[in-house]
């Protein structure tokens, strides 16, 4: 789970407010990818991350997720396949570093970073259960919300079970050493993992039905989301902003095709 508990400004916002703001930033950055706009958005997002107290967690995730991607982007666009008629900055034999190639790579990297940070900031500061409650209030079906939350916990659950299986089979003399031995060990490890997961599905379906998951009538939620008139207005503005950005872009494309 990526969520980092806290009580900063972003943590206190309604999940939908954060989602709407993130959507606006992402749409604006992809419709109008100009360097000043992208740099401005990045600066704003980083300031928000600092204010929310999640910058320390955000940066390592960004580095591990985006650094390889961005590095290969600069290599491909900037060095190996520059745009036609590009101005050479440095040439080393057949390899040319071009200004246009670097600029193009920079724009794509900027968009990626803005999108990634905007979404990560939302996830880092929103408890997944709150996110599902928020999405439920605008029409996400309860079953879809349930599946979303189960999927989030599936990975730690499977990791714990894999550990228990490894213990059980080692206790039966299974060597989990190197090379071929490791390959031979696979059925004894994967078999119980699959069977366990499958048989759990039926039992869990029974358990949630026995606890009224499909019970008729209105449902309630223990989680109550903080909301106010200002946030509702802000959300409306953000959504209108998204529409405006899209309309503006389409109009500009028509005006100068």
């Amino acid at each position: 789970m990526i969520y980092l508990p806290g009580s900063g400004i972003l943590h206190r916002l309604h999940p939908l407010t954060k989602l709407a703001a993130a959507l606006l930033i992402v749409v604006a950055a992809s419709m109008f990818p100009s360097p000043p706009l992208l740099l401005g958005a990045l600066a704003l997002l980083l300031l928000l991350a600092l204010a929310a107290g999640v910058a320390r967690r955000l940066l390592p995730i960004m580095v591990s997720m985006f650094l390889p991607l961005i590095a290969s982007l600069f290599l491909i666009q900037g060095v190996l396949f520059p745009p036609a008629n590009a101005t050479t900055l440095v040439a080393l034999g057949p390899v040319r570093l071009t200004i246009e190639g670097l600029a193009f790579a920079g724009l794509i990297a900027g968009r990626l970073l803005v999108t990634g940070i905007a979404l990560l900031l939302t996830l880092l500061t929103t408890h997944p259960a709150d996110l599902v409650v928020g999405l439920g209030s605008i029409g996400l079906p309860r079953s879809a919300g349930y599946v979303l939350l189960v999927a989030l916990q599936l990975v730690p659950d499977m990791v714990a079970r894999a550990g228990a299986i490894l213990e059980a089979q080692q206790s039966r003399g299974l060597e989990v050493g190197r090379g071929l031995a490791r390959l031979r060990a696979l059925p004894a490890l994967v078999g119980p993992l699959l069977v366990g997961a499958l048989s759990d599905v039926e039992e869990r379906a029974m358990a949630i039905e026995a606890r009224g998951f499909l019970s008729p009538g209105p449902k309630t939620s223990l989680r109550t989301l903080q909301d106010d008139a200002v946030q509702r207005a802000a959300r409306l503005l953000f959504v209108l902003g998204v529409v405006a950005v899209v309309v503006l872009r389409v109009w500009m494309l028509r005006a100068n095709p």
Partner: protein, 501 residues
């Protein structure tokens, strides 16, 4: 009018060769506490699931007769509606976690949200249920990060919070320590006094029959007794054993440890969890050839942690463990497995082969036995636990109780001088438990040892000669059942309780 009315009820699962319930006619009154007993496969779980409305909507099959619970025709009412009248706690607590909640508190609230209670009442009811099951200190923990006993209490708390007029519990104390089981009995008694109707299916016959107002015995889906515990127990005892608990006389392995050297020696071992909590402190004991040992202790006393030290799965933080004279820190787990065979509680983590025979071959093959030796060991293990006729079956086609015996046989086939069984009686009926007791006695007579980690005091008394008690990570008692003095008896009573015998 009776709150539960079953009339000539019969149910056959889709594609099953024979009915799971036959001609069941039973009435249960409001506030009555009914014990449901019977051998493995007698139909107890089907009975419980049917009361909660799962037939035929969830489990399809052929139905006859009628079933009314709290005024609802449970054979025709949607499960979601029956759920408001009947709370069901099934036998596997880990699989009952909703998976969509992050703390114990929210997990208990899950059902209450589903029936649309206002948040203030949810908080009040969850708080009550946490207290009733004595798990208030776990409220902020993840449901996944609990022990089996804690998960079992969580599952019961989650059902209780719904305050159903009818509560159905399938093997509720399988993973509870004796004290928790006694506390649960008191709680159920007071709920029944308050008007809740309670049905409990359980193999721990003494616990459940002492608790219940009435005992119902099932055999092959039929009611064979309906009245006092004595009548029901007599009806069960009169049943012919389907397969004789025949024990193999052949022992293929001579004992490699003639009394000189202990099989396992734990010398002043201590262990801390990664969280820093002390799990074991300064524990010293050894296991010699031909011993029968029961290890007792409350949920969370450190039993599972200690057992994992006996074959090197966990290295001690200080002190050392010697297996056949070798320090476990310098021996692989697979190397230790030659001497110490360990069977864990959740057998699903172990079984993977297509047939019982193939499953049993795995261990001895890993120990590089010759093909001929493997077959001898497998046959001997199959006979010892009465599984010969099932050798060709797929382990997952067998009922859970038989599957547990298969898991034990699979480690037994490795002919380990010390066999360690973690909660082996969970889900076993009297016949299965008798087989385990005979297994321990037979092994002792052949000079090989067995260590049983269990909450079942009567089983511990009958199967073991020596008793070890862990209390909060320390060795509180290490003695023989026959030589317990007054102090030791008091110690035992204070930590886990005393067996009836």
């Amino acid at each position: 009018m009776s709150i539960i009315q079953l009339r000539n009820l019969a149910f056959t699962y889709q594609d099953a060769p024979q009915p799971a319930l036959r001609d069941v006619t039973v009435q249960i009154e409001r506030g009555e506490l009914l014990a449901l007993i019977g051998r493995a496969g007698a139909g107890k779980t089907t009975f419980c699931t049917l009361l909660a409305g799962f037939m035929p909507q969830f489990f399809s099959g052929q139905l006859q007769g009628s079933a009314f619970v709290d005024g609802l025709d449970v054979l025709a009412t949607p499960i979601g509606q029956v759920a408001r009248s009947v709370g069901l706690v099934s036998a596997n607590p880990a699989a009952q976690i909703s998976g969509a909640r992050f703390t114990v508190f929210e997990e208990i609230a899950f059902g209450l949200e589903n029936i649309g209670l206002p948040p203030a009442e949810i908080v009040e009811r969850v708080t009550w249920a946490l207290g009733a099951l004595d798990i208030a200190e776990l409220r902020e923990r993840s449901p996944y990060a609990l022990s089996g006993g804690q998960q079992q209490r969580l599952a019961i708390a989650a059902a209780l919070a719904l305050r159903p007029p009818v509560l159905v519990l399938d093997e509720p104390i399988a993973q509870l320590d004796p004290r928790a089981a006694r506390e649960l009995a008191q709680l159920l008694r007071s709920l029944a006094a308050g008007g809740t109707t309670i049905v409990i299916a359980e193999h721990r016959l003494k616990w459940v029959t002492a608790l219940a107002d009435r005992t119902l015995a099932l055999e092959r889906g039929r009611v064979i007794a309906n009245g006092t515990p004595a009548e029901a127990l007599a009806a069960l005892a009169a049943l012919p054993a389907p397969q004789p608990a025949r024990l193999a006389a052949v022992q293929t392995q001579p004992n490699p440890f003639p009394a000189l050297q202990p099989i396992v020696q734990a010398e002043a071992i201590s262990y801390r969890y990664p969280s820093g909590v002390a799990a074991l402190q300064d524990i010293t004991f050894s296991v010699s050839a031909g011993e029968r040992i029961a290890m007792l202790g409350r949920n969370g006393a450190g039993k599972s942690t200690l057992v994992r030290h006996l074959n090197g799965l966990l290295p001690p933080a200080s002190g050392r463990v010697l297996v056949a004279g070798n320090d476990t820190r310098r021996t692989s787990v697979a190397g230790c497995a030659r001497h110490v065979g360990l069977v864990f509680q959740d057998v699903r983590n172990q079984l993977f082969a297509r047939s019982v025979r193939e499953e049993l071959r795995f261990g001895p093959r890993m120990l590089r036995r010759s093909a001929a030796e493997v077959e001898l060991l497998v046959d001997s293990a199959l006979d010892t636990l009465g599984l010969r006729e099932l050798a060709g079956e797929h382990p997952y086609d067998l009922p859970p109780a038989t599957r547990r015996l298969v898991a034990i046989a699979a480690v037994l086939a490795m002919a380990p001088p010390l066999l360690v069984l973690d909660e082996p009686t969970s889900g076993l009926d009297t016949l299965g438990v008798t087989r385990l007791i005979e297994l321990c006695l037979q092994r002792a007579s052949q000079g090989v040892s067995t260590l049983l980690v269990t909450h079942d005091l009567d089983f511990a008394r009958q199967a073991a000669a020596r008793v070890i008690v862990l209390d909060q990570g320390r060795l509180a008692l290490d003695s023989s059942w026959d030589t317990l003095d007054a102090n030791e008896r008091a110690q035992l009573a204070a930590t886990v309780g005393l067996p009836v015998g």
